[in-house]
Structure formats: C-alpha cells, structure tokens
Subunit: 256 residues, 2 copies
C-alpha cells in the first residue's frame, strides 16, 4: 500500500490565488492511472492546498493552532480545498481511476492534546472496494486550543496539513511506501544537489529553509522531520519522477 | 442534545429531480436559527435526499444493499447530496447558524456484517467548538456485500439513509431528543388522524404503507421501527411544528 502526497505547489500555481496548474495535474493523473492500470497496487492520495486554501486561511488568520468558531470562515477554507479536490478527482476519473473524496473536516478532529485523530475504517473499506481515496489539507474541529491556552481567538476549527494527514495515514494503514511529489527533485543540499538519503534531522538542518510562498502548514523542514518519525520508507521527488516512484524505483531523496 | 432530521421530501420537491423546496427550507432554517438564538441547545442536523440523490441512485441501481464499484456512479449520488447539503448550509449560514458539513461518505462505512460504523469524535468536537454539524443521506463504502453474498453486483459502495444516520447518532451521542421533520403532521391512522403515541410496532403495522415517491431508503414504516429501538424519545411532526419541537413542546407523534 502506497500513500502518495501530491504537493499543493505541484498541482497549483502557488503564487496566484485559486489557480490550478492543469498541465502538472494532468501529468500526475497520467502517472497514477498508468501505475494502477498495470497492477493491483493499493493507493491513498493526499493533496495539499497550494493556492487553494492557504490564502483563505491567511485572510482569516487560521493556522494549524489558531482556530475559528466562525463557520463561514472555516467553510471558506474548506470550500476552496473541496474545489481543488474536485479538479483532482475529475482528472483521475477521466483516466478510469476510481477516485473518491475523503474530506478530513468530515471525519477527523484534534483531541484535547491537539493531536490529530483520523479514523481509517472508511478508508480501508474504500480500498477493499477498489476505490482510490483522495484526501486533502483541510479544516479540523479542535478540542485542544480553548482548554489549554484559553481565549476565544485560539479556539475552534484549525488547519490540518496534507503532510500531517500523510504521516497519520502511513502509520495507521501501515503503508509500505510513502511518496511526496514535490516541486523540487528532492531535498537539496547547499549546492542544490539532491541529497540521496536522510536518516537524521540534525545532519540536514542547516540546509532546510522555510517555504518561499505563503504556507500555513510548514515547509520542507517540517516534512522531513515528520517523515523521519515513520516506520515506512519515504521518498521526496519531483513530478517527472512520479511514474518511476509508483513503479517501485528509488527516486529523489529517501528518508528512513 | 437534539438530533434533528429534515426530511428530504420536506426541503425538496420529491417528484421533480434536483428541485429544492426553497420556501420550506427557509422556514426550517428560520426555526433552527430562532431556537439556537434563544439558548445554548446543541443540535446535530441530518437531512434526507428527496429529489437529490434518490433519482441518481435509482438510475445506477444503487440501494442500501446493492452497491457500486464505479466511482463515477457513486459520485453522481454523493455529488447530488452535497449540492443539497450546500443549499441547507447556505440557508443556515445566512441566519448566523454556524452550520458545517459532515459528509458520511468521508467518515462512515459498513462493516463485514453490513452494519453502519459512524465515528462521532469529529461531531462531538464540532459541537464543543460551537458548530452545528449537518449530515445527510449519502454513499458508504461497504465491507459486507461482496464477502457474504458474492457477485460483483452487490459489492462496493451502498446508500445510507438519513434515518439510519439519525438512529446511529442518537445512540452514540446519547441524544436527549430526536425530531423527524416530515411532510406529514405525524404518523397517521387509517382515518388520517395523527397517532399521538406509538410504543409498539405491531399496533400500527396495518396503517403504515410504503412511501409514494421514489425512495431507496424506506418509508414511514422503517422510520417507526428504527425509532422504537432507541432509548431517546422521538417525535415525527410536520414543518409547521418544527419551532415548537425545538422549544421543547410535544408535537406530532411521539415514539417511545
């Protein structure tokens, strides 16, 4: 079983609000359709927001820890992510991939400690029925913020990133492989060469900067840290390597 | 805590595909907004499909037990229900009700015995955050049909009715009251008078016929049977009694 993240920056133009990168999404959908057509590989897809969602969240001051109790604000972000999800599903369905949406806001929440609780019974059953569940960064009801830190401004629904969902899914579904399809060909060292293998965060901390565009959910550093904590081997690679990754090849940066 | 079902036939014109009954929906939203404005009542809303969803399901031959492995067919039904859900949310948001969607296809499934498994952590957290979760009849991944009875035609995603969701939510959230807002003022006897109280199915079986329009999810008989199995007291009433029900009055038919 593979958990595949399609980076929001890959499938959208991250610097222009609500703008799809149609060509990139088509290429990603082609690679997925080819891989699923060839074998019985089980696949769960998670996509980020890119220019859908991040801008809306910023406008409302909503982050992964700063929440809102205003349904209209929450639905602004949620609705933008559903719109992008529709595009992703559409491109996959056109290629006979039986993709169905799993909207995190409908199923997951943060508990009193702020930890993500994401049920997986529906995802396992969708997989068993032959579907390809497609999740995305989203809003989440949050039991934590109000209790711990007090104040209405930190209460209510908060953001969950695609990366956080990937980590949770990979753990709970016992994924064999995790793929993060990114705008870069891997984690780059300070001479912009792809680092082949990362097994320790401290060794690469100095070269991991912040994401350049608006991103409420953290950049490459957060991705690497989260992936190092997982049992399954993870790969970070560019779109041109997606087909090879899905065929089982070692591509980009391997995090283990 | 109240679980309120808004019947699909109440808020849509059930005989014309994908046609909203805008006036009825506005009146329902008014009653909900007034009740929530007055006190701190916690409310979970479930709406049926009416003319959204039932027709699509019929076209594809999908029922609560006959499923599909075709994502496009499943999304036809799911998409119709989301469209109706958007209308319901819109009318509530206009009245400052912090309504948010909980799409069952994203969170629930049927287990190997065909029983509905609906996680409620996200719903409890949404309620604690001050939101009004709005669920709806939908599609569900199904672990049962293929295993038990064999054959591809009974495998895949099946329909879940709003009534089935209401029963599950009322049980798991330990609802104080259950309200079914219907097109009729209650369960009618054979002279069309409202039966005030039902405590035993056999006593009313002879007067409970099938629903007149296309309804893949069962009519009044199924509703009454399911409600009799619950601990909480349930009421079946017409739209004109919704405000009174939400204020705590005894209206329509009480099922206990």
């Amino acid at each position: 079983m593979i958990v595949l993240k399609l980076g929001g920056s890959v499938i959208t133009d991250k610097d222009r609000p609500e703008t799809l990168d149609g060509d990139a999404l088509e290429r990603a959908a082609d690679a997925v359709a080819t891989a699923l057509g060839e074998g019985g590989e089980r696949l769960v897809i998670v996509h980020g927001g890119g220019s859908f969602g991040h801008h809306n969240a910023s406008e409302h001051g909503i982050t992964t820890t700063e929440g809102t109790r205003d349904a209209a604000a929450a639905l602004d972000v949620h609705g933008a992510m559903k719109t992008l999800n529709q595009f992703v599903l559409g491109r996959l369905l056109e290629r006979d991939v039986d993709a169905v949406p799993v909207h995190p806001f409908s199923t997951a929440h943060r508990d009193a400690e702020g930890d993500l609780v994401l049920p997986t019974g529906q995802i396992e059953t969708l997989l068993a029925d032959g579907f390809v569940p497609v999740l995305h960064g989203d809003m989440l009801a949050n039991a934590a913020a109000g209790g711990g830190t007090g104040g209405d401004d930190t209460d209510g629904a908060t953001v969950v990133s695609g990366d956080e969902l990937v980590a949770s899914l990979a753990r709970d579904l016992e994924a064999d492989r995790i793929g993060l399809c990114s705008t870069v060909p891997g984690v780059l060292d300070d001479e912009d060469a792809v680092i082949e293998r990362i097994t320790d965060y401290d060794a690469v901390e100095s070269v991991l900067g912040a994401s350049e565009s608006t991103d409420v959910t953290g950049g490459m550093a957060a991705k690497v840290r989260a992936l190092l904590e997982l049992d399954a081997e993870a790969s970070i690679f560019g779109l041109e390597e997606l087909a090879a990754f899905l065929e089982g090849e070692t591509v980009g940066t391997t995090i283990d």
